[in-house]
């Protein structure tokens, strides 16, 4: 929106809300990245840091919620303003869930390090991680710029993540079927990590829907 | 279904007829009042038209040294010169009574006119001069056809002999009708042909100026006090009742008051416009106060509250915000009051303004009359020619009034608004 509100504070409030989301997004992005890194080379201190980070994310989530509440009380936003106020609540929820998934991934890294790891599967996990990080990054950019095209792209990418997940599961099943190896625990853990990344992708996709809704008022949940 | 036509019910036919009747009543009321105005003003104007011109008569006057001493022309008896000239013009007139009638063709003012002309132009002296003198009122009336010559001579002011003389003069080109500026530029006189309105006009102007200067500020002040500042107590009630009551006191009683206070106690000069104005001010005060209060009451209180909220003191709030808005209404009251004062005779009677005053006053302390007084006096004069003077004086009064109203209308139009 090029036009600014007559009440300048309204704009500032909305901007701050957005900033908190972006801050949250950045943290979550780091969490995902760092948790992914943990899968190959486990570092208990690092895991603690990631787990600790989650508290900050949760705090931000609460702050977004409070700010949005205050904004509604004070400004009684309508139309696009209302969506710009309501969407962060949802987006923050999604981001918080992403953070949880990152946390869960990091925790699984601890288990993974106790057993040997199937390198091919790990590679697939990394590929997925890169993909969802890309999606997450893009969706944050789309949110920042109200870029519904970029958001649409993110939604498209979700399918790729799903495919990667399906492929990973297939590969794991194949490995489990072909050899009765001793690292079945790690394989299951990796499947679960993959599941985490698949969920993160879904959340990013949801954020992309909200970005679309903010701009158009159209709710895509029902249609896609 | 909605029906928007007359058939919708609601007793519409009847109500629209009532509306029509109501509007017609309004038009009728205004028309009635205006008709009265028209009839009265019309009849006055018709009566007054005679004043526009006056008749002059040409007389050959012997202003030779045997009649007028060139070194002291004021001492000469111009009346005698006029008389002898008239005798010369009609040598056949011999009877004493007829001679008197002959002399009466020229206004008694004639001799003073000659004196004035001689003073202005000493070159006239020393020979026989033909001068135009004001003719008498009877001659003037006759020339204008106001004398019914079909009546027996006894019943008219102009005898057969006089008619013959006038005809001769007329044929000889010795009569002329000129514009009568004297009416506007001279004072009162007992001779209708030269009586003028100026002294009364100035007297009225002086009186009204004094009246306005006193009653407007005091009236407005009292209204503002009562409406905005007066505590709601018995004294305020007393003042309020008092003011309403004063409006009903017959005007002559104000004259009595003026007589005892302004003349008796304060020792102001009798017959002066100052005292007249003061008495009229007392009389118009209630009217102005009542109207001004109504005007103040119609100002929305929010104006004052807004000003008070901005930190204005009550006095500032009233004078800056209420007062200007109420001004048009106050002016209306002032006009009504002043109009009343302008037309008032009775109180002036008590303080000596109902008087015969020839000299034109040049200050508020000199004796003067007022327009309605002049009208009253002229209406009471026996001479027939004063009838039209009366009418003309009324016209002057009305013009005076219209000018006053005009000023007020301009002011009001500038200030008026509806909330």
């Amino acid at each position: 929106m090029e036009n600014t509100h007559i009440v300048k504070k309204f704009d500032k409030n909305l901007d701050k809300l957005k900033a908190r989301i972006l801050e949250m997004g950045e943290l979550v992005l780091h969490q995902v990245e760092d948790a992914t890194a943990m899968l190959g080379a486990f570092d208990p201190v690092e895991v603690d840091r990631i787990l600790q980070l989650d508290l900050t994310v949760n705090g931000l989530h609460k702050e977004v919620h409070d700010r949005a509440e205050l904004l509604i009380t004070r400004r009684q936003p309508l139309a696009v303003d209302l969506r710009q106020t309501l969407a962060p609540i949802n987006i923050a929820g999604e981001l918080e869930r992403i953070g949880d998934h990152a946390k869960s991934t990091a925790k699984r890294g601890r288990i993974l390090c106790r057993s040997s790891t199937e390198e091919t599967v790990l590679e697939m996990i990394r590929q997925m991680s890169t993909k969802v990080q890309e999606m997450l990054f893009d969706v944050l950019i789309a949110y920042t710029n109200d870029d519904i095209e970029l958001a649409a792209k993110v939604r498209m990418q979700d399918k790729e993540v799903d495919t990667l997940n399906k492929n990973l599961v297939k590969s794991v099943i194949n490995i489990l079927d072909s050899q009765a190896s001793g690292n079945s625990e790690s394989l299951i853990q990796l499947t679960l990590v993959s599941r985490n990344f698949e969920r993160i992708g879904d959340h990013a996709c949801n954020i992309a829907r909200y970005v679309h809704q903010i701009s158009t008022g159209e709710d895509l949940k029902a249609s896609i | 279904m909605i029906d928007l036509t007359k058939k919708a019910g609601f007793g519409l036919d009847q109500r629209h007829r009532a509306e029509q009747r109501f509007q017609w009543a309004g038009k009728l009321a205004i028309a009635t009042s205006l008709l009265f105005l028209l009839v009265m003003v019309g009849s006055i104007v018709t009566d007054a038209s005679g004043v526009l011109r006056q008749t002059q008569i040409a007389v050959d006057l012997d202003l030779g040294p045997e009649n007028v001493n060139p070194s002291n022309p004021q001492a000469a008896s111009y009346g005698r010169i006029v008389k002898s000239s008239l005798r010369d013009m009609f040598p056949e007139v011999t009877r004493r009574k007829d001679k008197k009638r002959l002399y009466n063709l020229v206004s008694p003012e004639g001799s003073f006119e000659i004196a004035a002309m001689v003073t202005d132009n000493p070159a006239l002296l020393g020979s026989v001069q033909t001068l135009w003198l004001t003719a008498s009122d009877d001659l003037d009336l006759f020339l204008r056809g106001k004398v019914d010559i079909s009546l027996p001579p006894k019943q008219r002011r102009i005898s057969d002999a006089e008619i013959t003389w006038i005809k001769i003069l007329e044929d000889g080109g010795q009569l002329r009708r000129v514009a009568n500026w004297g009416f506007l530029s001279s004072g009162d006189s007992r001779e209708p042909e030269i009586a003028g309105i100026l002294s009364a006009l100035i007297g009225s102007a002086f009186s009204l100026a004094v009246c306005f200067a006193l009653s407007f500020p005091i009236g407005i002040g009292a209204a503002i006090y009562l409406e905005e500042f007066a505590p709601a107590n018995r004294i305020s009630d007393l003042i309020e009742v008092n003011i309403n009551n004063l409006a009903a006191v017959p005007s002559i009683v104000f004259g009595l008051l003026g007589l005892s206070v302004f003349l008796g106690v304060m020792g102001l000069p009798r017959s002066s416009p100052l005292v007249g104005g003061m008495v009229l001010a007392l009389m118009t005060l209630p009217t102005i106060i009542i109207a001004a209060r109504a005007a103040l009451r119609s100002v929305p209180p929010s104006f004052k509250e807004a000003a008070l909220a901005l930190g204005a003191s009550p006095v500032q709030a009233v004078f800056h915000h209420v007062f200007p808005v109420a001004m048009p209404g106050m002016l209306t009251g002032a006009i009504v009051g002043m109009a009343q004062a302008l037309g008032e005779t009775a109180p002036l009677l008590m303080i000596g303004m109902v008087a015969f005053i020839v000299d034109i006053p040049d200050s508020v302390l000199e004796p003067a009359t007022a327009l309605p007084v002049q009208i009253f006096l002229w209406a009471d004069s026996p001479e027939r020619a004063f009838t039209e003077k009366t009418a003309a004086a009324i016209i002057v009064l009305l013009i005076f009034l219209i000018c006053m109203n005009l000023i007020a209308i301009l002011l009001r139009r500038k200030l008026e608004q509806r909330f």
């Binding site: 600014t4 509100h5 309508l78 159209e218 | 928007l4 609601f10």
Partner: protein
């Protein structure tokens, strides 16, 4: 689809040479609350007043185009403005009870329109109106008190009772709550909502939230044109026109 009760087609309104409304097309549906919103001077009040020809009071005002109620052109010469106003009531911005008693205020319309011939009928009707205006319980014991003695909100409800007493088909409201406190506003809004069952209501308001709360349809006017008209939900969530968007979200347009 329900037929509209009021329908405007190409309505232009002028004050002298100044045009206040440009080519307005608008359908008002029966038994709905239609809100007219827009910045001051946008022509919404002008349009509202055109519906019961209150504009007639301004000598310089001229209306062209077609404005119909139940298919009858309001400005048809055959139309009787009294009949029109009897069926299109109006409530004003400031509560303006007459300097009469509460009873007389409500009975006023009934009396002038001779709608209640008998005294008991009149009393019943007044009670009914006050009941429907939600005021009866508060004033039933002091009907002979002056209307001005009521509180602002009560006064406005008295004015509404006065308007509904003659059972109009349409009630026009010109910012009826702008002089009231939130509680009084809420009571009046509640009243408006309940009146919807019987009447068609057109309301001018400056409060977006109020329009959103009480109306089913909203029309947005801007600079004398009807910019957008539709379901209130749509107007306030996803307006089509950027001017509407800017206006309702309080942006510099």
């Amino acid at each position: 689809m329900v037929d509209p009760i009021i329908s405007a087609r190409g309505v232009d309104i002028f004050y002298d040479t100044k045009q206040a409304l440009f080519d307005v097309d608008l359908d008002i549906l029966p038994n709905k609350v239609t809100a007219l919103i827009g910045p001051s001077g946008c022509g919404k009040s002008t349009f509202l007043r055109a519906i019961n020809r209150m504009n007639d009071l301004i000598p310089s005002c001229r209306v062209s185009g077609s404005l119909t109620i139940d298919g009858q052109d309001i400005y048809d010469p055959a139309v009787d403005v009294v009949a029109l106003r009897a069926q299109v009531g109006m409530v004003f911005q400031k509560p303006n009870p007459f300097p009469k008693s509460i009873f007389e205020n409500v009975a006023y319309g009934l009396k002038i329109h001779k709608l209640s011939p008998s005294k008991s009928e009149l009393q019943d009707r007044v009670e009914w109106s006050l009941q429907n205006a939600g005021l009866w319980n508060e004033v039933s014991d002091r009907l002979d008190q002056p209307g001005n003695s009521l509180s602002g909100g009560q006064q406005q409800r008295l004015c509404i009772a006065r308007a509904i007493a003659v059972q109009p088909k349409v009630i026009l409201m010109d910012e009826p709550c702008s002089a009231l406190d939130p509680i009084a506003t809420a009571v009046v809004e509640d009243l408006i909502d309940s009146l919807r069952k019987e009447y068609t209501i057109v309301i001018v308001t400056h409060s977006m939230q109020q329009a959103a709360r009480i109306s089913q349809r909203t029309a947005f006017f801007h600079l004398g044109t009807l910019v957008e008209f539709g379901d209130t939900k749509t107007i306030f969530t996803t307006p089509k026109d950027e001017r509407t968007q800017n206006y309702i979200t309080g942006r510099i347009g």
